[in-house]
Symmetry: C2
Subunit: 121 residues, 2 copies
């Protein structure tokens, strides 16, 4: 049902947790399942130096956001804005159709965190 990469990121989520000195915080809710996701970014010279996430969502949401944080860490905020849920799903070697909306949650959380950073700067 789930790829090895999904199971790996579910069991050992990367960048899970809070960030006290975040430059941008995005919090999004999933209309489909009611889950919430929070994403924190630390930005220096336009580069995402650090990123953390937290969610009450399911295994696919955890895996998607874990992968998303790895994909934007060290990248520019403009690159982060271009991260699509499709790219996250591909990096995870796929997700069941029913769980694609969990990867959308991860994409939206990244965008919300970047937007919050822009609003503050």
């Amino acid at each position: 049902l789930y790829s090895e990469k999904v199971m790996d990121h579910f069991r050992n989520p990367r960048n899970l947790g809070k960030m006290d000195d975040a430059d941008g915080i995005g919090e999004v809710g999933n209309a489909k399942c009611g889950d919430i996701m929070k994403m924190y970014i630390k930005v220096k010279d336009g580069i995402i130096e650090d990123v953390k996430f937290n969610t009450f969502g399911c295994g696919s949401a955890i895996a998607s956001s874990s992968m998303a944080t790895e994909m934007i860490k060290g990248k520019s905020i403009d690159d982060a804005l271009e991260l699509s849920n499709k790219a996250v799903v591909e990096a995870l070697d796929g997700l069941p159709t029913h769980k694609i909306h969990c990867s959308v949650l991860a994409e939206e959380a990244v965008k919300a965190a970047v937007k919050d950073y822009y609003d503050k700067n």
Copy 2:
């Protein structure tokens, strides 16, 4: 959004894990969100001596199944069959409307495990 009991069972799930010598195993999928849950029971003289669960579901699913395992442990299998998702939600001091289906997953997993036990005995 979530009660203290939900957060407690989410952060410190009771009876989480596998069971190698289970007398009954129930595996159910949630039509609404596509999540899966597995429940294992160890039965002696009609009493559920031990119970474990595993899920790829969300925080509400983890909290619901954790609470459900506590509610059936030490009880008769007939009592376990009568456990309703409503009772689980009440024991958790409530769940958001969007997440009631997660507690249904826990109820169905218990029933499936008991059914598997009956089928084998």
